[in-house]
């Protein structure tokens, strides 16, 4: 849960990267993602990671990215062990382990610097149905609300003598019931109220709703996209067509 909220939930920021067109941010993350798949040596992989760390620092999200990397390292440790057992190839195993971290970070950078409003624009660009886009936006919008609900429910039940940490595994799972049922009931009630409020605000009135905000690529966006594509081209060329670059 911590990992998820730290690594993937948007928080307002004010860096050049936050202000970029969401499409530029998406493209950049996709390119970083692909580059990690192209890297064939640990050295190349480290280069990619160094680039991501630099970018995170420039985007003022280095702390969060570092924490995400630390959490992800637990999983990639597991990937490493499994790989060593099956392939008996230390270098490949290390490569896979780092690649996993790099993949998570490339996606995380996109999500933590892109507001749900911008995500919505990106989804619209892909011509996803309005209902799907709206469901996504609402889900993201209500994450903090549901977290607050959960805390209040837990407080109420603990005040009635519920001890979550008590007993064996089965007992502990059963202890979750008094938390989960009110949470579900509240969500159902909430969605009913949301549906009414949507109707009252003419949701679905016209097949092609308009939008208050438009994203027009500015010079900065074009510049960043060009730089990202150029970097990617160099990386792709050297990582793929040249012999794997190893530590000097």
């Amino acid at each position: 849960m911590m990992w998820l909220s730290g690594g993937f939930i948007f928080r307002r920021g004010d860096s050049f990267y936050h202000r970029l067109d969401p499409r530029a941010k998406l493209l950049n993350s996709v390119l970083m993602f692909v580059t990690t798949l192209l890297a064939r040596s640990i050295f190349e992989m480290v280069l990619v990671i160094v680039f991501m760390v630099g970018l995170s620092a420039a985007a003022t999200v280095l702390k969060r990215v570092a924490r995400t990397m630390a959490f992800t390292a637990l999983f990639s440790g597991f990937i490493f062990v499994v790989n060593v057992l099956f392939t008996r190839d230390l270098e490949t195993s290390v490569l896979y382990a780092i690649r996993f971290i790099a993949i998570v970070v490339s996606t995380s950078i996109f999500f933590i610097t892109t507001s749900p409003d911008e995500l919505e624009q990106v989804m619209k660009m892909f011509r996803l149905p309005r209902d799907v886009v709206f469901a996504f936006v609402t889900a993201v919008r209500f994450i903090p609300v549901m977290m607050l609900d959960t805390i209040q429910i837990m407080d109420a039940q603990k005040s009635r003598g519920l001890e979550l940490e008590k007993g064996n595994l089965i007992r502990r799972v059963r202890n979750m019931i008094p938390i989960l049922i009110p949470l579900v009931v509240n969500s159902v009630v909430r969605s009913g109220e949301l549906a009414e409020a949507m109707e009252a605000r003419a949701y679905g009135a016209v097949p092609r709703p308009t939008s208050l905000l438009v994203y027009r690529a500015r010079r900065a966006d074009v510049g960043v996209v060009c730089a990202a594509v150029a970097l990617f081209a160099i990386a792709a060329y050297s990582f793929y067509f040249v012999v794997p670059v190893r530590f000097p």
Binding site: R141, A195, R201, A202
Partner: protein
Amino acid sequence: MADILKVEGLSFRYPDSPKNAVSDFELSIPEGEIVVLAGPSGCGKSTLLRTVNGLIPHMYGGEYSGDVLVAGSSVKRSSMRDLAQTVGFLFQNPENQIFMFSVERDVAFGLENLGVPREEMRARVDEALRLLRIGDLAQRAPHELSDGQKQRVALAGVLAMRPKLVILDEPTSLLDPKTASELVALVARLRKELGTTFVVVEHRLDLLVGVADRLVVMDGGRKVLEGTPRDVLFRDEAEAHGVAVPAVTKVQKLLAERETGRAAAGRLLTPSGLASAVEGRQA
């Protein structure tokens, strides 16, 4: 002035319910009034409101007879699209009516749904933000707002659609008293500036009687009392119908029963007004 809302012999029963939620209801509201709807919990207020903005019968089915006319057109024959532009609805919990991640996007939500062109939308959003004096919050996310601010944002989203009639369903129940009275003052100001009609469901009458033109009391799905706030609150039955008669009004009523001085005047007195009335009697 023309009636903005006319309820004619309305009865409604939810499916699987043994009795009517609203029975033989009649109501006429002239344009520009502030009307307070009161009554005990479960008296049918919420149902009545939903027949006005069309959630009943367009979203909820049930046994429906009679008619509701908003600005002269029948609700059951109007589309939700048209109704959304004539009747605004502010729900009790502001949290559940803010959809977007920024205030200005949320205020624009209804206009986006109606397909209003961007330039016009921009102007109407800015106007709504200015009316509610929340321009400085335009870029905030919902979880960065206080309860009072959320309620204002939700109301801005409603007003941006330029409704003629706005329904407020217990708008202050989650607010503290000062924030609540600020909201009531806001409603009075909007009525003056825009000429909008407001129908407000509220338990806390002490906040509202000063600005309301009319008080309607419901009980058991029926209209049991109607009149100016003074006339209704001076009736002995008011309390029996679960109406919270403000303390100072109770005193005024006691005094009015004894003599016809200022206390018995045609309007409700504030605490200081009542003190003046008593002082006058002394001299």
